[in-house]
């Protein structure tokens, strides 16, 4: 009975502490999705792969999204002609490298402020490395789902003008949308298409507010449910599994990292609140393994694999997964073995 009480108190305390951060996260990601125009940002980003990767991984500071919000944004970035290094860097780092997650991690690990900096630093390092590896593949289209890939330019060809003169339409292949302002060619880069489209619809601010609230509600509903399940798992693990087992697992420099990475992958808890989850293991598990949880979890987990698959082909998701897992493992193992922290 006392164990049940303990478990429920733990569960509720995780929920109560995490809900404000979850709300903040969904509020920001909804606001930005509706209000910010990524095309302008892309226009100012560097083309050099390494610089683009670094820029992309820091984009999270402007788009505070968790790992559920980053896939749609990364997809929009790709479709609007962002370099692949930028999009991949963003995809992997944005859920961690943003002010809300920074704050939440700071709150959770007040006793160990170093954890915050390790988390952010390591995430940027891993993301930049993976983004650079992906940037070697000049044409990202074979990695993408066909529906996305057709929006991307082939690397060397010049985009055609978007609005084709009425006379030549019949002579060109492809998908066309007939509209009053002219004929819109669909199967060409999104950027060119949008640039060519006459006027973008302007929404009133009421409509925008309504849309932001609507999106917040949608995300809260869904991520709230995931948070509930994550908290339930964390509470159960703490209460139900004998302490000796967890200690044995949590004190080994290698086993602890593997266990926490597996846990991060399975639990799929949102990055704005995962530091509270990790906190409940912080007293028993090695610092490196907690770090592995905080770095790897937001990059790839069971939940966002299904999201990634809406944009990338299975093979590319596999590469991302394997690379992220290996790099996280190696770096956090180094933290465990070579730092006294």
């Amino acid at each position: 009975m006392s164990q049940l009480n303990q478990g429920l108190t733990l569960f509720l305390s995780l929920l109560v502490e995490a809900t404000p951060f979850l709300l903040l996260g969904v509020a920001f990601s909804s606001l930005l999705a509706i209000l910010v125009d990524e095309r302008k940002l892309i226009a100012y980003t560097p083309k050099n792969p390494v610089l683009a990767a670094i820029t992309g991984s820091l984009f999270g500071c402007v788009f505070p999204v968790c790992e559920c919000g980053n896939v749609p944004v990364a997809r929009r970035l790709l479709m609007q002609g962002a370099p692949s290094a930028l999009a991949i860097g963003f995809l992997l780092a944005a859920p961690t490298v943003n002010p809300i997650v920074f704050w939440a991690t700071w709150v959770a690990f007040r006793d160990q402020p170093a954890m915050v900096f390790w988390r952010v630093g390591l995430t940027i390092l891993v993301s930049v490395i993976i983004a650079c590896i992906f940037s070697v593949q000049k044409d990202l289209r074979p990695f993408l789902q066909p529906t996305i890939a057709r929006y991307l330019p082939a690397p060397a060809t010049q985009p055609e003008p978007a609005l084709v003169g009425s006379g030549s339409t019949l002579l060109q292949g492809g998908d066309f949308l007939l509209q009053s302002t002219g004929t819109l060619k669909l199967d060409q880069p999104m950027l060119a298409t949008i640039a060519g489209a006459a006027v973008l619809p302007q929404q009133s601010w009421q409509a925008k507010t309504q849309a932001v609230l609507e999106m917040m509600l949608q995300e809260f509903r869904e991520l709230g449910a995931v948070l509930v399940m994550g908290s339930a798992i964390a509470a159960t693990v703490q209460v139900a599994i004998p302490r000796e087992w967890i200690l044995a697992l949590g004190q080994g420099p290698i086993t602890s990292i593997l266990a926490m990475m597996l846990l991060a992958w399975v639990v799929s808890i949102c990055s704005t609140v995962d530091s509270f989850f990790a906190l409940s293991f912080a007293s028993i598990f090695t610092s490196g393994s907690i770090l592995a949880f905080l770095v790897f979890g937001p990059m790839i987990d069971l939940k966002n694999i299904s999201l990634l698959l809406t944009t990338f082909k299975g093979r590319a998701v596999m590469y991302l997964f394997v690379l992220a897992a290996q790099l996280t493992f190696v770096f956090t193992l180094a933290v465990n073995l070579y730092t006294s922290w």
Binding site: S13, V16, A33, D111, A211
Partner: protein, 247 residues
Amino acid sequence: MKRTFPWPTFWDMAALLLWGLMLLRYWWSGRLAVLLHPDYHWLAIGAGWVLVLMALWRSVGLFQPQTKFDTGAHMALLPRQWSLMVLLAIAVFGLIYVPRPFSSDAALARGIADPVGLTRSQPRRFARNTPPAERTLIDWIRTLNVYPEPDAYAGDPVNVTGFVIHPPDWDDHYVMVARFVLTCCAADAYPVGLPVKLTGDRAEFPPDSWISLQGTLFTETLDGQRRLVIAPDEVLAVPEPKNPYEF
């Protein structure tokens, strides 16, 4: 034409409202202290109000025809009804259930009897200048962490409050007076405590009851380790404090 009742909007509203009320209820009933560090109470309370306001916004949709907004970017992982059901169920449960602070069993399960576990806290502020009689349990543990030699503190006056633990391996004159320490929320609570040598039998102070002790410290070998033990002059049973944790 009769308009059908917008059930989906209603359930959205109910989930937001109940979830918000759950957070606010812990605040009103004072139980928030059992779950969270006081520094972060405002966050939970703010979130509660935001959720209630969102519920109000949603309730407007009950009375006027809804325009459908396409937020496009969103992809559902769980069917909407499932998520709603989970949220509603937890909110109802949270509104009914009264969270209890951790008990002595939890402290034992987390290895309180073992002084090695105490090295976890990394104090940002070292309260060495606090006179011994004013040190709380956590102050004592931090002091011991910095300079662990028990003999250095023998004879010091002590005045602490905590709950009672009966460690199973100790004989009937010994109890432990303990507190849970929080840095953020109950998820990271860890127990700290000092052994107490009673003059009578420990049955007088059942586990989980709260006591306030005045006495002096001395050194004794317990479980094969030399430890600092409280010799109480006075032991008073006290009610559970409003905030059961130390920070």
